[in-house]
Each structure stands twice: as structure tokens, then as C-alpha cells.
């Protein structure tokens, strides 16, 4: 077989293995079934600090936020990297002032967007209005 074709097949094989590794070891795993989670929204600018507790079957945070969109006054904006929250409790971030909703999972900075954060039982997801 042509040397180049063999090389391409090897590279494709390695890429496939890397993809499987990414899916199994890097992407956070979701847990099926009912979970009790807390959504905490902090907006010092509007003196808002509200906590909501939900029971959900959703697997990722985005599932719950989509479901409770009206109650939480959420507006999403679509980007090529996923959905971003631009409004919570009816307050829309002021982009000219570099505002955004920072996400914490149990008090720690989230390392992925709402579409990749798995819902875990008893976890608290905090959204705080901040500027960058």
C-alpha cells in the first residue's frame, strides 16, 4: 500500500483514540436520575441575591436552565462555542461595561460552559454578575 495512505490511516487511528480518550476522561460525565440542586443568583448591582432549589432529571446544567428559563428570567445568546447566559432574573448584562455572569460550581470557578456542566445531586451552581 502507498506509504502516504498508511501514514494517513495511522494518524486517523491515533486521532480516533484521542477522541475516545477525550470523551471518556476529559468531558465531565452526567448522571441520570433525579437530583436536588441549588441555583444561586447574585447581582449586587441590583441588590439581588436569590436561591432556588430544584429537583431535576436533567443531565446538564443547560437542561435545567432551559426548563426554568421563564422562572429564572434567563436569556441565552448563541455563540459558535455554545450558549451563553446574557440575562438572569430579568437583568441583562451591560456589554459596554464588560458585564457577564460568572459561574461557580460549589464555590469553585466553572471550567466549562453551562452546556458541559453535569448536574450532580446536592450541588450548588452560582451565577454572579461580574465585570472582566
Amino acid at each position: 500500500m502507498n506509504k502516504k495512505i498508511i501514514l494517513v490511516l495511522i494518524v486517523l487511528g491515533i486521532s480516533l483514540l484521542a477522541f475516545v480518550g477525550y470523551k471518556n476522561f476529559i468531558v465531565p460525565k452526567a448522571v441520570e436520575g433525579e437530583k436536588e440542586v441549588t441555583i444561586h443568583i447574585i447581582n449586587d448591582k441590583e441588590n439581588m441575591d436569590k436561591t432556588f432549589t430544584y429537583n431535576t432529571d436533567g443531565e446538564y446544567l443547560i437542561d435545567l436552565l432551559e426548563e426554568k428559563k421563564d422562572e429564572l428570567g434567563i436569556t441565552f445568546q448563541d455563540f459558535d462555542f455554545g450558549k451563553m447566559i446574557v440575562a438572569m432574573l430579568g437583568y441583562t448584562v451591560d456589554e459596554s461595561n464588560n458585564e457577564y455572569f460568572h459561574i461557580y460550581v460549589n464555590g469553585e470557578d466553572a471550567t466549562t460552559g453551562v452546556g458541559e456542566i453535569p448536574l450532580m445531586d446536592k450541588d450548588t451552581y452560582t451565577f454572579e454578575l461580574k465585570t472582566y
Binding site: 494518524v11 486521532s15 484521542a18 466549562t112 460552559g113
Partner: protein, 169 residues
Amino acid sequence: MKARDVVLIGILSASITAGKLALSFVPNVEIVTLLFIVYTVTFGYKRTLLASLIFTTTEIFLYGFATWLLGYYFIWPLLIIITEVLNKRFKSEYAYAILGASFGYAFGIFFAVVESFFYGVAYGWAYWIRGLVFDLVHGTSNFIMILFLFNPLKNLLGKLKKNYYNMES
């Protein structure tokens, strides 16, 4: 700089923009890396660097200003300079295929660092992790494309260059 060079640089940048748009429906499969590498080898790094500046500026007109476009002003010239250095040592398409693959695999992490300056480390980290699959597709498709298209394109452009400048390349 001669008038022929100015025209050539315009054509090079236009072809890169057209090549990018033509493949824009396939996520992270692009011909831009291949073209920058072949153009650098054929027309030299100075002309290609100028073409990259025009290409990036055209992107701003097409997509509006975004922080990722700032990265373009660094990453494409970086590719061109690395290609120029490689060109002095290697002539084989395998060397450029490895360069293109490495470039694609590292693309996300470069932009994650740029984004971190604007939005913080957590955002940069999330940006990189989220884009890892895209980087994988990017690097692997670059490798395959350069491996098969580098030599035919280089030969064709070499002949066109000879006719265009009416001298030996």
C-alpha cells in the same frame, strides 16, 4: 516593492479568504494553513506575511471585530516564519504535513491563552477544553491535506510564478 508584487499579494490574500469561505461549512477543516505554507515556500515569507495581514484585516470586515481576530495577527505570521525556517532545511512534504498538524492541534491552546488575557484563566481553560475535538479535526485534516496537496500546489505555483515574473524561480 514592484507593482507586480503588490498585485500578487492582493491575489494571494484574496485566494486565502476565498479558500477559507469555500470550506467554512466544514467545522475546522480549512485550506488556509496549506496555502500559507505553500505561498511561503513559493513566493517567500515577505510577500506571504503581507498577504496574511491583509487576510486578517479582511476577516474583520467580514465578521466584525472579535478578540480571536487579534490572535490571527500573530498566529499566521508565526506559521509563515516557522515555514521559512523549515524551508531552509527540509523540502519534503512530510515536514510541512507535521508542521500543519502540530499547528492545528495547538490552535485552540494558543487562542485560549489570548482569550485568558481578556476574560480570565477559567474562561481560557473552558475555551480550550471545549474546543479539543475541533483541534483534533483541525490538526488531522491539515496533515492529510498538506501531505497530498503540498507538492502538486507547489509545482503548479512554481510554474505560474515563473510566467508571472518572466524569470526562473
